[in-house]
Symmetry: C2
Subunit: 191 residues, 2 copies
Amino acid sequence: MNLLEERILKDGRILDGNIIKVDSFLNHQLDIEFLNKLGQEIYEHFKDKNINKILTIEASGIALATVVSQAFSYIPVVFAKKQKTSNIGDDLYQSVVKSYTSNKEYNVTVSKRYLSSDDNLLIIDDFLAEGNALKGLIDVANQAGCQIEGLSVAVEKGFQDGGKIIRDMGYDLLSLAIIKTIENGKFEFDN
Amino acid sequence: MNLLEERILKDGRILDGNIIKVDSFLNHQLDIEFLNKLGQEIYEHFKDKNINKILTIEASGIALATVVSQAFSYIPVVFAKKQKTSNIGDDLYQSVVKSYTSNKEYNVTVSKRYLSSDDNLLIIDDFLAEGNALKGLIDVANQAGCQIEGLSVAVEKGFQDGGKIIRDMGYDLLSLAIIKTIENGKFEFDN
């Protein structure tokens, strides 16, 4: 069992409605020392790719992206913003995303100043469920002409479709922990 | 002139309507090496206080809070979430905040699991204008019985009231750069 799987067993919670909470260390309260170890794992997987920028999305991807940047000797991090679908300037790349958790649509936006065809990206987020946020980031990156070298998330819900969708698109997706099932109120992992 | 003031002069922009943009390095694209230097400055100011936790707010406070945590040898970071004012569970501390930028109200929320009277807090954010976000964090911290050892922001707009409001409340507020004015399209700092 790996580091993140052990931590999920120790501190993760399963709520009614099959909701997974890892908010004591990953995405509300943050264990920064632990995140740095996860960042190192992500670096080890992608270090031979020619990555020069990290793309993530607010808010829960930012801390993980920060520590991954440090593992890559401080490459820039760009975090996409989430905005209601409305009047958005033409100085932004944008993609419409449906949120799995809220079932609402929002715009993922990145300023055109901060993504270009010079960028070889690692796309980072904390959680992967249906893959909608990652697809939005991929779309924005493609509009900007970036090269997407890979994607990485801390936790993939293996019983939802996001992982398959992203891998079937041909991308190298590293999920540090893949939760196979949470039936019976217990975490089981895909190794 | 200090490190952040120099960077603002070099990379900051002033847009019509007196809007300050530092989004190439602080709060959209992130220069993580530079943020670590800012984090070290914040640590130097507060290192003799008995700080054991950082409280910040999504999204732009998170990267700065992450690097400050590292300077403090990995104390936990808790980031408050912003939610529309609506049905919010009783398992959350919450405070209503009016956004200076959008002129809308939102709820600042933190799970009751992650703040308590054991916490000696450093409150962190990237920007200080009218002080509404910081006041929301102070309110949530007080509800939880935390001891607030101090607050720190990267950029304070010295020509707005937030700095005075927070200091008049008696708190030790460290602003790494205080912008005195942006009249005539130029940055001038309070040193």
